[in-house]
């Protein structure tokens, strides 16, 4: 089944080669955009995740490698909708208690076993709901998954779950793993977590720790004629400068997630044969957020928080720290690119240090002897160079309006414990992710009454009944239009209270060799399956 190339593929290769040859031989003509089958794409690995199973660890670092091997039910399409992958149709019931999915026929796992609804039911009940960081939120009320036949899965919920939410979450949380390899084992320590088996266009072939991941073409992939590439190799190159050098020497063809330092982008883009691309990340938008600890009396005052915002110039962060690549000033924690939910009907803030100083005076915190008003400790998250640099800038900006800032830094786990468990901070700079629906990882930043020790949640001591109500209502509102309206209200309250202060929203940059085609052609390109990516011959 895997040995001989499919006759249709051989024909395609032949004709595309002829077409390409014809196109190249015509002087001055544009090279035909016919995909070429074959070639090895070499990519700089983003990180070495501890777990390669995207059904358990739904994170970008894992998706970068594993989404080529393990597929979700649907992926984001270029037009903002969904592209069917393992699921061909889906529909939620009017009462929000069932969600029916029709599955694709004729799909097999990489080891030859057939893909059926039993795999989906197993993945949902044994992995997405109990073990996956995001699945626990979306499938909190999942009761059971019925499988009336091999190609139908019916999700049954104990409380109304908006189908809008499930659809938005499909690309990130519904990676299906093979039941026959996981059932009866300890899923968390299963060996296949380091060598995933899926239904995707590429088979996981090799992992050399500290060196590379190797994926090879799945000859039996359900999408006829794809994938085009023979192999994808993710090379581990931890040094950002060496990634830039590797692009120049041609040792690698692609870097994603802004792996190359922003200061190198202009130089690399200018090189013939390399391009810096900011598209393809809209579905993975991050924000830089200044998060105050409301347990500090000064910071519990909305006027003070507004003053903080007025003292900071987000455009400067965009221009100096992001060098203008893939970043814009933020108006809220739902980004502009989230066209389904974004609303500008809310208070907007500018850069006005004088107004900031006036507000602080008004709030009762004047400058003492013309010097500083009060002192705070600022913890910038160490996750990105940009969050750390923003910390440096914010310190400067706040010192200018009379607030003394001491920066406290820690590595990633230290930061998480300090901010989200110990609440040992006055201000923190964090980088929350918007995952295509506010209910997934955004509203949890505003929801009151949470226990301590929940990372990336509202640990600021903010608890507003109006806000809590809006969040609870929207989480169970089945009518899409009404749900959108509720999230507009959510954005209004967030901008008025400013419990946490959005500064900048940003995505990433891909640097690619021009020989690579179909780059960035969907909003989650870097974390999608690359079945249609192809490499032009040299």
């Amino acid at each position: 089944m895997h040995s001989r190339p499919h006759p249709r593929r051989r024909a395609l290769t032949l004709w595309s080669t002829v077409a390409l040859a014809a196109a190249i031989s015509l002087p001055g003509s544009v090279v035909a955009q016919e995909p070429v089958t074959g070639g090895t794409l070499v990519v700089a690995a983003d990180s070495e995740p501890a777990n390669l199973n995207p059904a358990i660890a739904a994170s970008n670092g894992v998706f970068f490698v594993s989404s080529k091997v393990v597929e979700p039910l649907a992926e984001m399409a270029a037009d903002g909708g969904l592209k069917p992958l393992l699921a061909t149709e889906w529909m939620g019931s009017d009462d929000g208690l069932t969600f029916t999915v029709k599955l694709r026929e004729g799909v097999t796992w990489h080891d030859g076993e057939p893909f059926t609804s039993a795999d989906v039911a197993f993945s949902a009940m044994e992995v997405w709901k109990p073990l996956q960081n995001l699945g626990r939120i979306v499938f909190a009320n999942l009761e059971a998954v019925d499988t009336p036949d091999d190609l139908t899965a019916v999700f049954r919920f104990s409380a109304p779950t908006p189908s809008q939410l499930i659809e938005n979450a499909l690309p990130a949380i519904t990676s299906v793993i093979p039941r026959h390899l996981y059932e009866g084992t300890d899923i968390a320590t299963n060996e296949y977590n380091l060598k995933p088996v899926g239904t995707g266009p590429f088979v996981f072939t090799e992992y050399r720790p500290g060196e590379l991941f190797r994926l090879t073409r799945n000859e039996a992939y359900w999408d006829e004629g794809k994938p085009y590439l023979d192999e994808i190799i993710f090379r581990v190159l931890p040094d950002p400068a060496s990634k830039a050098a590797a692009l120049e020497t041609g040792d690698i063809h692609l870097t994603a997630f802004s792996a190359v330092p922003l200061t190198d982008l202009e130089r690399l883009d200018a090189i013939d044969g390399l391009s810096a691309v900011t598209e393809g990340y809209d579905g993975i938008t991050y924000a830089i957020s200044l998060d105050p600890n409301h347990r500090r009396a000064e910071l519990a005052d909305p006027k003070v928080r507004q003053a903080l915002r007025l003292a900071i110039d987000p455009q400067l962060i965009v221009d100096t720290i992001f060098l203008g690549y893939g970043a814009t000033p933020a108006t809220g924690h739902i980004p502009r690119s989230a066209t389904e939910f974004y609303s500008e009907d809310k208070p907007l803030y500018t850069y006005d240090p004088a107004a900031a100083e006036a507000l602080l005076d008004e709030a009762g915190y004047p400058r003492i002897d013309g010097g500083s008003r009060f002192a705070v400790r600022l913890r910038p998250a160490p996750f990105f160079a940009e969050t750390r640099a923003t910390g440096d800038y914010v310190r400067q900006a706040l010192e200018a309006i009379g607030i003394d800032v001491e920066i406290v830094s820690a590595d990633a786990p230290g930061h998480i414990q300090a901010v989200y468990t110990d609440h040992d901070f006055d201000l923190a700079i964090n980088s929350p992710v918007y995952r295509n629906d506010p209910a997934i990882s955004t509203t949890i930043l505003f929801q009151g009454g949470l226990p301590d020790g929940v990372p990336f949640s509202n640990q600021w001591g903010y608890d507003d009944p109006k806000m809590n109500q809006v969040i609870a209502d929207a989480a169970t509102e089945v009518d899409p239009a009404a749900r959108v309206e509720l999230y507009h209200e959510f954005q209004r309250i967030a901008a008025e209270d400013l419990p946490i202060i959005p500064l900048v929203e940003f995505t990433f940059t891909t640097v690619t060799n021009d020989r690579v085609h179909n780059v960035a052609n969907n909003p989650r390109w870097a974390t999608s399956s690359w079945a249609d990516t192809w490499l032009a011959p040299e």
Binding site: S59, L134, L212, A412, G414, Q417, V454
Partner: protein, 334 residues
Amino acid sequence: MARGTGSFILRRLVHAVPVILIVAVGVFLLLAAAPGDAVDAYLAQTGSGDTGFAAQLRQQWGLDESLPVRFLMYMESVVTLDLGWSVAVSAPVTEAILVRLPSTILLMTSAILLAAVLGSVLGAVAAMRRGSPLDGTITTIGLALNAMPGFWLGLIFIVVFVVGLGWFPLAGMSTIDGPTDPVGHALDIAWHLALPVITLALTYMALYMRLMRGAMIETRASDWVRAARARGLPSGRIVRGHIARPALLPVVTMLGLQAGAMLGGSVVIETVFAIPGLGSLAYIAVSRRDLPLVAGVVLAGTVLVIVINIVVDLAYARLDPRVADERVRSGPNR
């Protein structure tokens, strides 16, 4: 000699056991004091979860037990040499370490040998030309190299020799899809390790240079060299056999003492040159707060240093037969 050697090694290993235990306890205390645990590190990577996710992971990974219980579990794992599962790299700790150990051993031993050889040769030259400008130049260059941060020298070398001249490969241990025949593969690895080994060696060379130089100057003036000269032995043979050979003794001693420092140096070198070895694993383990893995790496490093010291002591005994019996009994590095 063989039986003496065997029991010597055994005695040294037994002697090392309390050292290893002290180190193990220290590692536990250190990580227990650290803010943020393995779950925090994992969540930093994977991102959000719901309210119960962190608690569930802690329970899964045995991190919700009290401190004394965790200490006992930990010491048991150390004593039985079963360090368990590493959540940082999703593999058994022992396996994770053994996979990466050869790279570091290769890197370190090559660097140590290169540093010792280069240092001894240059030190000998300096000693023979003592007081001349050549002597001063050699010594200063050695000191200057020693004063440079290893990672800085590595970065400069990469810019000049890899990106600029393209003489060496960019990173890693071997070329992807490179030669698979033993000779080709070995040469490929050597080509990849050349620059990191040279960088590491150059920064530690100075010490051996000074030792060799100093020792040679001293022995040169000693009685028995004068006696040999008086007997009319050829100058070359005197230098090699009577001056250089005993002068190597302090160099060899230093090899053992330097092993720990060079293993530390390999952490940054491995990071700069993307070598998948023990040093970079140490960095991953610490930043992901993976106690079993940190313990494993520290213990493996300690054992490596102890082994190198034993080898060095044996070499020392071979070099200086006068003290072979006595040294074998008590070891020079006590």
